[in-house]
């Protein structure tokens, strides 16, 4: 049996904390996407009671949007700083056209405005909200389409009447409920599924479902493309510790 050092334990805990950081555009954790290139924990006190954590992030291209890149990197820093035992957190974004700018901003805790200065106006809240809404739309489409495929006699217009309690207790429903919670939508069995971010029901059910479908296709497509590009860009590069083998990403990116 291998004995885990306290550094190993802290690295696992830090990695688990990064699981909460989501690529807002793809609606998936950065850990699952393979964006965490390396993570190292170095004790600064006895028995790792206090630890310095250094994380390097990588993205599928140098030209991924800098605002999303910054969001993920600063969320990663916040998630690690919130751990009670971290006394120094370094997060760096590698190989991006704005790496210098973003890394300097993170090191100085300059925030979004301080990092991007004249290119920033107020905050990235609106951007985040836009993508929370898209994630919700895609999640409800997955649930309703699965329902329709399972019940061939269910009329299309009838999906407007489907309520949370009508959905099976499965992964899609759990995912929808998480996204509803982010938007502050009710988590009650009688709540309607096909609603917008303000809990409004659409007047044209088939059209609303078609729009939701195009959103889901778009997000799924982007996620696969990004996975594939990351695998192409970094090949078999070994991450440390070894988290997500790129071969797995490759396989997923290549499958249809």
């Amino acid at each position: 049996m291998t004995l885990l050092t306290c550094e190993n334990t802290r690295e696992s805990q830090a990695y688990a904390a990064l699981h909460a950081v989501v690529d807002p555009e793809l609606d998936e954790p950065i850990t699952d996407l393979g964006f965490v290139r390396s993570l190292t924990a170095s004790p600064t006190g006895p028995d790792c009671e206090t630890v310095r954590v250094e994380v390097h992030l990588r993205l599928p291209t140098s030209f991924c949007s800098p605002n999303f890149a910054y969001l993920m990197a600063s969320d990663a820093k916040d998630a690690l700083t919130a751990l009670p035992w971290t006394d120094q957190v370094i997060v760096e974004l590698d190989d991006h056209h704005d790496s210098d700018l973003i890394n300097a901003g993170l090191a100085a805790d300059a925030g979004y405005l301080g990092t991007f200065r004249h290119e920033a106006e107020s905050s990235l809240d609106e951007l985040r909200t836009t993508f929370h809404r898209k994630a919700h739309t895609a999640a409800l489409e997955r649930c309703l389409t699965r329902l329709l495929r399972g019940q061939p006699d269910l009329a299309e217009d009838a999906v407007g009447e489907v309520r949370l309690g009508d959905l099976p207790d499965d992964d899609f429903t759990a995912s929808l409920r998480r996204r509803r919670a982010v938007l502050g939508l009710p988590d009650l069995p009688e709540a309607y599924v096909l609603v917008d971010h303000d809990n409004e029901r659409p007047s044209d059910i088939p059209l609303a479902l078609r729009r939701a479908r195009s959103t889901r296709i778009s997000i799924d497509g982007n996620a696969h493309f990004c996975r594939g590009l990351l695998a192409t860009r970094y090949g078999e590069e070994v991450t440390s510790p070894a988290f997500v083998p790129l071969t797995d990403l490759h396989r997923e990116g290549a499958s249809s």
Binding site: C64, N67, H97, S122, K134, P152, A155, R210, S214, S218
Partner: protein, 347 residues
């Protein structure tokens, strides 16, 4: 022209480039990052038999372009859509002189579109007039994430952009090709958002707005805008090669496009030299929506002919042999097409 199973297809490659990304033309690290990003697109989405070496990829030259497009690529006519990228490349990324001279030498084969940047103000407007005359411009390619001094992006609704569109109208530059990129000012917003296209398309109904990459990575927003604006079209650059790596995703993209904007407003392109047209055309003619995707109707031969060339030929008044022409679909100008295809009861 491409012929298979007794059907002949007139081919217009509506988005090609002749670029120079060699180290001696790179102004800084971003020049290398940019071409490396393209090269990863190429390697990730091409069949292995079509992979180029990195050296070949840095610069292809006019001779190779003519060979790849017209000698082996089945293309009847191709349209240059150059990206300037003056902050990344000393002599620009798209090679204005070489490409425009090639087009002047082969007017039956090539159309040269140029670019403008509204942040160049009055001087840029004068330049646009000069360029329109020099190149006989019918279209322009606009990249909204072009870096320009302190600014790294612009919107089509910027007041200066409107001045340029008014000039396009005067000069007979009717085809505005738009490519969205990752940077915009302010960075608070989604740089890929296509909402500004909605505004300009409503305000300039006599201009065509061709959204390259069919709005990817914002396909859904593109479809929603394009279905409402009859002068908004979709270019398939970058979307095409998914036909190889992810055919089911490609089927969904096409299914959505045919549903939202119809068969008359979709244009094929290889995005040469990111990819080459030969294999894309061969695959596309053989392509069919998978049978289990009953939410989409099968693609017809007529639809394929329109997408592969007839739509762009119409926009650019290219001469198509009489026997290869097709009438426009008798469809609504706005709103979803053949909405019965959306019948999910059949899913």
């Amino acid at each position: 022209m491409y012929t298979k199973d007794n059907e002949s297809y007139f081919i217009v490659d509506a988005h090609v480039a002749l670029w120079d990304a060699r180290p001696e033309n790179q102004r800084n690290i971003h020049g290398k990052q940019f071409i490396d990003c393209f090269y990863d697109y190429h390697r990730n989405l091409s069949p292995e038999s079509e992979h180029w070496s990195y050296e070949d990829y840095l610069y292809q030259g006019g001779e190779r372009l003519m060979h790849d497009l017209f000698e082996v690529g089945y293309v009847d006519h191709a349209i240059f859509q150059p990206a300037h990228l003056g902050e990344f490349y000393t002599n620009g990324f798209g090679q204005t002189e070489e490409a425009s001279q090639l087009a002047a030498k082969h007017p039956d084969r090539l159309t040269y579109n140029h670019h403008f940047d509204p942040r160049n103000g009055e001087a840029g407007l004068e330049q646009l007039h000069a360029d329109a005359e020099r190149f006989g411009l019918r279209g322009v390619k606009l990249y909204t994430a072009e870096w320009h001094g302190e600014s790294r992006g612009w919107k089509l609704t910027d007041p200066w952009a409107y001045r340029y569109f008014e000039a396009c109208r005067e000069l007979g530059i009717t085809n505005i090709h738009i490519h969205k990129g990752p940077t915009i000012r302010p960075l608070d917003r989604d740089a890929f958002d296509v909402a500004d296209i909605d505004h300009v398309a409503s305000d300039f109904t006599d201009l065509n707005f061709i959204v390259e990459h069919v709005g990817l990575p914002r396909l859904e927003d593109f479809c929603w805008i394009a279905t409402q604006e009859p002068n908004v079209h979709g270019g398939l650059a970058v979307a095409m090669p998914f036909i190889h790596t992810r055919p089911r995703y490609f089927a969904q993209i096409l299914g959505e496009l045919v549903y939202w904007i119809g068969e008359d407003r979709i244009q094929f392109s290889s995005d040469y030299a990111i990819w080459t047209p030969k294999w894309l055309i061969e695959r596309f003619v053989d392509f069919q929506i998978p049978e289990d995707m009953t939410e989409y109707a099968p693609l017809t031969v007529a639809q394929k002919k329109k997408i592969l060339g007839l739509n762009a030929a119409k926009m650019y008044d290219l001469e198509v042999p009489a026997e290869l022409r097709l009438p426009e679909a008798d469809e609504t100008a706005t709103g979803p097409r053949e909405p019965e295809r959306a019948d999910l009861a059949a899913v």
